[in-house]
């Protein structure tokens, strides 16, 4: 193999690796049911597991933390549910399957894919609904199989964009 061919082969290989690494990384799709009618400055956050206790307390804790962190970064103050004079965000986890990190790493091509389906409703201080959306997340690849908590972060970013009206 001459020098030019070798160079082209290496460039192609690097590009393929890069595409493979990016393809199928954690993602979250937002579908807006009702766009936000207002932009609350603070809100409480409740997460309900509707999967029949498939989600561990640690996973719920991480998901809540991801949403709080993302909203706080967007300028929304997340407060305790004891505050009734703020907007209320209620999220329902409808499907939660973390998949298999080992299968994602060693097999790939969709094996071990992790999926999450959630539905979100936002109501104002009076209890009236001011917005709702669905967020579906998945991970099918990533460095060493990828971490499912990346899906939490992507879903949180998507919700934050929905809540602040940037998407």
């Amino acid at each position: 193999m001459n020098h030019g061919k070798m160079k082209r082969y290496l460039s192609g290989f690097s590009l393929s690796v890069l595409v493979l690494m990016l393809y199928g990384c954690a993602s979250a799709n937002l579908s807006v049911v009702q766009a936000m009618a207002a932009k609350p400055a603070s809100a409480s956050l409740i997460l309900i597991d509707n999967t029949g206790s498939k989600v561990s307390n640690e996973d719920i804790g991480n998901l809540k933390s991801a949403f709080s962190d993302s909203l706080q970064k967007a300028g929304v103050k997340i407060v305790s549910t004891e505050n009734k004079d703020v907007a209320a965000i209620v999220g329902q986890i409808q499907q939660y399957d973390k998949g298999s990190k080992a299968l994602r790493y060693f097999v790939g091509f969709g094996a071990g894919t992790g999926k999450m389906k959630t539905a979100w409703k936002v109501s104002d201080q009076t209890g009236g609904e001011i917005g709702s959306c669905n967020i579906d997340g998945s991970i099918s690849m990533g460095v060493f199989g990828g971490d499912f908590y990346n899906v939490h972060e992507k879903a949180a970013e998507a919700f934050s964009q929905f809540f602040t009206g940037t998407k």
Partner: protein, 133 residues
Amino acid sequence: MGLIKLRRFYISLRSAFLLLALNGCGTLFGGLTQDIKLTSDPPNAQVIDTDTGVKYNTPVIVSLEKSISHSLEFSKEGYKTEVVPLRREVRFVWWFLDAFSLGVGNLIDAASGGLFDIKPEQVHVALDPKSGS
């Protein structure tokens, strides 16, 4: 020693130095600990790192070792306890650079924790009252 031999020796020496420099570069440049900001609503909640047993009170910035995993338990009297597991994410750049040391650097960085980043860097927990359950 001929000029070519001298050049080869110089290149070998430079390569060896580069390999040594790449050994554990995550440990050298990434650090062994990471600062994580912990806040809560209401404030002054107790946080226990269940993996080390160390206690804190919010709001606080803590320096956590990257070589071990951490799970934080937020509690306050009258409120439900919340557990937030932190995750250690492999920094691809360190892993990639370490690979040039034929895996030695990867092992060093993995053992020291330099290969990882703790995520999230900021944890905010809104505690729910027990009566509200």
